[in-house]
C-alpha cells in the first residue's frame, strides 16, 4: 500500500515548488495538482512562472524546494529524457521536429523499427506503425510527407502523435493554438477531447481564455512566480481569471517625465508581412513614448523589424516628418534617423567577443573618419563620454562586452545609438533579463531621449513597464492592431483583454 496515493484521480501533484535564479525568484511556493483524463489550464502573464514550472516538471530545471508526486511516487526529475520515459511529454511553441525528414521518421526518431539484427531501419514497418498511430488518433496525414511541406497545424499534429507514440500519461501543451487557424483549432480540440477520454492528463498553457470553454476542466493561475488560485472552470469566469492574472499594484518604479508631446514624427501605414504583421498602422509624436503591448507572438518585433528594414516589408508605407520614405535595409532606416534595439541583445545587438569601445562605435565609425581612416582620438572621447554618461560599469574600454552584466550590455547598446543623431528609437523589450536597478536606469534613459525630442516606440511584455512609461499604447494580437489608448485611461485588464483577442467587455 502506497501511502502517497491520496487521491485516486491525481496523477501529478507538484507541491510548494520554489526556484530562484540569480536575481529573480522565478517560482515561490507554487503548487499544481493534475488529474487523469482532465485538461488543466495553467495561466498567467509572461514571466508569471508557467514555463519555469513546466521545465521543473520535465527535468530541465531542478526545484530548490518542494516535492513532485507522480503516479503516487515522489520523483526528482533530472533530465527531459527521464520524464519522457515516465510518460510526461511537452510540446513547445517552437516544434522540435526535423524539417527534411518525413512524418513517420519524425514520429519514430531514435526509436525506428529495425531489421537485420537492429542495424537497418525497417521502412515498411515504420510506415505501417505510423499509419496505425495516425488512424488511432484519427489524424489524416501522409506518413511519407516531408515535414517542411506541412502547415503549422499539421506539424503540431505530428508533435502530438510523436508524444503519444511513447504512451504519454501527461501531455503539456504550450500555447498550442497561437499559430492555428480557427478550423485547425477545432481539430486540435477534438484530439484533446479524445485524449481525455483515454485518460491522458493534459496541462494546457494558453492566453486564449475564450477558448477554454470547449475543453478546460480546471484552471490554475500564477502571478509573478506565485500561486494565485485553482478552480474548476465551471466555478469561475473570464473576468475573474483576468483579475487573478494581473491583480498587482503599480509601485513607484518609474521615473517622472516631462510629457511635452509635439508634432507627428513617424508614421507607419498598413504594414504587412506574412501572418505576423497584418495591416498595422501607428504614429509617434516628437517627445512621445508609445508602448506596443501584446502577448508573445503578437507580431510586435516582426512589425518593428519590417519597419527598420531588417526584414522585408510586404506592403505598407512609412512617413518621417510627413514625407514618405522606404527602408530596404537597416542602414537605410538608420540613415533616415530610425533605429531598432533588438529584443535579444546578445544574438542580434552586441559583438560579445569584441571590446566595449568597438561595440559603442560600430554604428558611427564612418561619422568619425577622414577618408575612411578612423579618428581614434575622437572615437575614444565619445566612448568615454558614453561610459560616463550612462554609468556603464566596465574596468576599461577594452573589456569584452560578453563579460559585462546584462544591464551594462544594454547600456552599451543604447550608448551606440546616442552617438547618432536619430529621430525615432524602437526599443524591443529594453529591460528583459536585467536587474531592477539597471531597469530604472534604462527607464531614465528612455525618458531622457523623449524629453530631448526623440519619438520612441517601446515593445514590452511587462505590463507595468508599458503602463508606467508610455504616453499612448497600441495593443497587438496575432499580427493585428486590436486597439489604441491613452496611457492615462489604460489598465492592465483593458490591455490584456485586447491582447488576448477577447472582444466582450469585462464588467468592472
Amino acid at each position: 500500500m502506497n501511502l502517497n496515493r491520496t487521491g485516486i484521480e491525481s496523477i501529478l501533484s507538484m507541491k510548494n515548488i520554489s526556484k530562484k535564479f540569480p536575481g529573480v525568484q522565478a517560482l515561490d511556493d507554487v503548487s499544481l495538482d493534475v488529474k487523469s483524463g482532465a485538461v488543466h489550464a495553467l495561466i498567467g502573464e509572461n514571466g508569471a512562472g508557467k514555463s519555469t514550472l513546466m521545465k521543473i516538471l520535465t527535468g530541465i530545471y531542478t526545484a530548490d524546494t518542494g516535492t513532485i508526486v507522480y503516479q503516487g511516487d515522489v520523483i526528482h526529475p533530472k533530465n527531459p529524457r527521464e520524464m519522457a520515459d515516465r510518460g510526461v511529454s511537452i510540446i513547445h511553441q517552437e516544434f522540435n521536429l526535423i524539417p527534411h525528414l518525413t512524418v513517420a521518421e519524425n514520429i519514430f526518431i531514435t526509436r525506428e523499427p529495425r531489421k537485420f539484427r537492429n542495424t537497418i531501419i525497417d521502412d515498411k514497418r515504420l510506415i505501417e506503425e505510423t499509419k496505425k498511430l495516425l488512424r488511432h488518433l484519427d489524424i489524416s496525414l501522409d506518413p511519407k510527407a516531408k515535414l517542411a511541406k506541412l502547415s503549422v497545424a499539421e506539424k503540431q499534429m505530428v508533435e502530438i502523435t510523436k508524444a503519444l507514440a511513447v504512451n504519454s500519461e501527461i501531455l503539456v501543451l504550450d500555447e498550442p493554438t497561437s499559430a492555428l487557424a480557427e478550423k485547425e483549432v477545432q481539430k486540435l480540440f477534438e484530439i484533446i477531447r479524445d485524449l481525455k477520454n483515454r485518460g491522458v492528463a493534459i496541462i494546457y498553457i494558453s492566453h486564449r481564455l475564450e477558448e477554454f470553454e470547449a475543453i478546460v476542466d480546471e484552471v490554475t493561475t500564477l502571478r509573478d512566480g506565485r500561486y494565485v488560485s485553482t478552480s474548476r472552470w465551471s466555478d469561475t469566469s473570464i473576468p475573474q481569471l483576468v483579475r487573478n492574472m494581473v491583480g498587482r499594484s503599480l509601485d513607484n518604479q518609474f521615473p517622472e517625465r516631462n510629457h511635452d508631446v509635439g508634432e507627428i514624427v513617424f508614421e507607419a501605414r498598413n504594414i504587412r508581412r506574412g501572418r505576423q504583421v497584418n495591416d498595422i498602422s501607428l504614429k509617434v509624436r516628437k517627445g512621445e513614448v508609445v508602448g506596443l503591448a501584446g502577448l508573445m507572438g503578437a507580431g510586435r518585433s516582426e512589425f518593428a523589424r519590417a519597419v527598420f528594414g531588417a526584414d522585408r516589408m510586404e506592403s505598407g508605407t512609412l512617413y518621417l516628418d510627413g514625407r514618405e520614405f522606404v527602408t530596404r535595409s537597416p542602414s537605410d532606416a538608420i540613415h533616415n534617423g530610425i533605429t531598432y534595439l533588438p529584443e535579444d541583445r546578445k544574438l542580434d545587438g552586441l559583438f560579445l567577443d569584441l571590446e566595449v569601445q568597438q561595440n559603442i562605435m560600430y554604428a558611427t565609425y564612418s561619422d568619425n573618419a577622414v577618408m575612411g581612416v578612423v579618428d581614434d582620438k575622437r572615437c575614444r572621447k565619445k566612448v568615454d563620454r558614453v561610459i560616463r554618461d550612462l554609468q556603464v560599469k566596465t574596468p576599461t574600454v577594452k573589456q569584452l562586452v560578453g563579460n559585462l552584466s546584462g544591464g551594462n550590455q544594454q547600456k552599451v547598446l543604447i550608448g551606440r545609438w546616442l552617438l547618432k543623431d536619430l529621430k525615432v528609437f524602437i526599443f524591443d523589450e529594453p529591460t528583459r533579463g536585467i536587474d531592477v536597478g539597471a531597469k530604472f536606469e534604462v527607464y531614465n534613459l528612455i525618458n531622457r531621449l523623449a524629453e530631448q525630442g526623440a519619438a520612441i516606440i517601446m515593445i514590452s511584455s511587462e505590463m507595468p513597464e508599458i503602463l508606467g512609461l508610455s504616453d499612448r499604447i497600441y495593443v497587438l494580437c496575432e499580427g493585428r492592431l486590436m486597439g489604441e489608448m491613452d496611457a492615462r485611461e489604460a489598465t492592465q485588464e483593458k490591455i490584456l483583454r485586447l491582447a488576448s483577442g477577447l472582444t466582450e467587455r469585462i464588467p468592472a
Partner: protein, 325 residues
C-alpha cells in the same frame, strides 16, 4: 593535453591576443632551436634569409586569408588565382606588354576573381566553403585552358626577374621579396586596424546580424574581404612568376591550406572576429621554417605535405579549444 588546458586557462585570464602572440613567438623559437640542434646548416644567416624569402609567398596570401577568416569565411580559391596570375603575367610579357601594365592587369584580374567569390557568398548566399571550392576548380580550369596545361617561359624581358631577385640597401642585403612581405604587411595591418572598412570586417565576423542591424553593409564588407584575398593571391603570383621566370599553370595547389594555417596559428579564429596581420606573419614563418628545416633534414616533399596537413588540423583544433566553443 596539459598544455592545451594551460593555454585555455591563460587565454581566459590574460589579454587574449597578447598571450596568443607570445605563445606563437615561443613556438617559433622552439622550432628554430630544434632545427638548429638537428641540423648544422639551419642556424646560418643565409638560411634565415632563405626562410624569409620563402615566407614571402605564404605570408602575402595569408594576409588576404586573414581578412576573409576574420569576416568568418574562408577562401579556398587563392592557389588557383595565384596560378592564373603567373600564366597571365607571363603571357602578357611575352606579348610585349610593358611590365607595370602587365602587373596591373593581373592584379586587377585577381581582385575581380576575389570579388566574385564575395558576391557568391554575400549576395547569393552560398556557403563560403562551396563557393570558393567551385571558384578554385573553375579558375584552375581556365588557367589550364589558356595555357594548354603547359608552362609559359618568359622570353625577352630580363628586368622582370629582378622583381624577385632584386635586393636593396647597402651591400644589397635586403632581398625584394622580404620588402614586399613587410610593405604589404604594413598596408594590410593599417587597413584592418585603422580604417572603417577594416573595423567592420571584425564586426561582420563577430556577429553578422548585429552588424547588419548596426547599419553596416555586410555584403559590401564580405565582398571587400574576398577582393583583398584575390588581390594578395595575384600579387603573390607575380612574385612567384619572377622567381621561376615562367608561368606555371599547375603551381599553387594547396596554398590555401598553408595560408589558413598561418592565419589561424597567428590567432585568427575560424569563428570570426579575431585575427591580426602580426600574428599571421608569425604563423607564416612557422609554416616555412618547418618546411625549411624538414628540407635540410632530407625529409621528402611528400612527407612535408603530410606534415603541413597535420599542422593545419592541429592549429584549427587549437583555435577551437582557445575559443572554447
Amino acid at each position: 593535453m596539459n598544455i592545451v588546458l594551460v593555454l585555455r586557462e591563460k587565454s581566459k585570464k590574460i589579454d587574449n591576443d597578447l598571450s596568443q602572440r607570445l605563445s606563437v613567438a615561443l613556438a617559433l623559437l622552439l622550432l628554430c632551436t630544434f632545427f638548429s640542434v638537428a641540423n648544422e646548416y639551419f642556424f646560418e644567416l643565409n638560411n634565415f634569409i632563405t626562410i624569409a624569402i620563402q615566407t614571402a609567398i605564404t605570408a602575402i596570401t595569408a594576409y588576404g586569408m586573414t581578412f576573409v577568416i576574420i569576416s568568418r569565411a574562408v577562401d579556398l580559391s587563392i592557389g588557383s588565382i595565384l596560378a592564373f596570375s603567373t600564366v597571365t603575367v607571363a603571357m602578357l610579357l611575352n606579348a610585349g606588354v610593358p611590365l607595370l601594365i602587365a602587373i596591373l592587369i593581373v592584379i586587377v584580374a585577381g581582385a575581380l576573381f576575389g570579388s566574385m567569390n564575395g558576391v557568391f557568398v554575400s549576395k547569393m548566399g552560398l556557403p563560403p566553403f562551396i563557393a570558393t571550392l567551385g571558384a578554385q576548380m573553375a579558375i584552375r580550369g581556365l588557367t589550364m585552358v589558356i595555357t594548354d596545361a603547359r608552362p609559359i617561359y618568359i622570353t625577352g624581358n630580363d628586368s622582370f626577374r629582378l622583381i624577385f631577385q632584386g635586393k636593396i640597401f647597402q651591400q644589397e642585403w635586403l632581398p625584394l621579396p622580404v620588402v614586399y612581405l613587410i610593405a604589404l604587411a604594413l598596408i594590410s595591418s593599417f587597413i584592418l586596424r585603422k580604417t572603417v572598412i577594416g573595423r567592420q570586417i571584425f564586426a561582420v565576423g563577430s556577429n553578422e546580424e548585429a552588424a547588419r542591424l548596426s547599419g553596416i553593409k555586410t555584403a559590401k564588407i564580405r565582398i571587400f574581404a574576398y577582393l583583398y584575398s584575390g588581390l594578395m593571391a595575384s600579387i603573390a603570383g607575380v612574385v612567384l612568376t619572377a622567381r621561376v621566370n615562367s608561368g606555371q599553370p599547375t603551381i599553387g595547389v594547396a596554398y590555401e591550406a598553408s595560408a589558413i594555417a598561418a592565419a589561424v596559428i597567428g590567432g585568427a579564429s575560424m569563428s570570426g572576429g579575431h585575427g591580426s596581420i602580426g600574428g599571421t606573419i608569425l604563423g607564416a614563418f612557422i609554416m616555412t621554417t618547418l618546411m625549411n628545416g624538414l628540407n635540410l633534414m632530407n625529409v621528402s616533399q611528400n612527407w612535408q605535405m603530410f606534415a603541413t596537413g597535420l599542422v593545419v588540423i592541429f592549429s584549427v583544433y587549437l583555435d577551437m579549444v582557445r575559443r572554447n566553443r
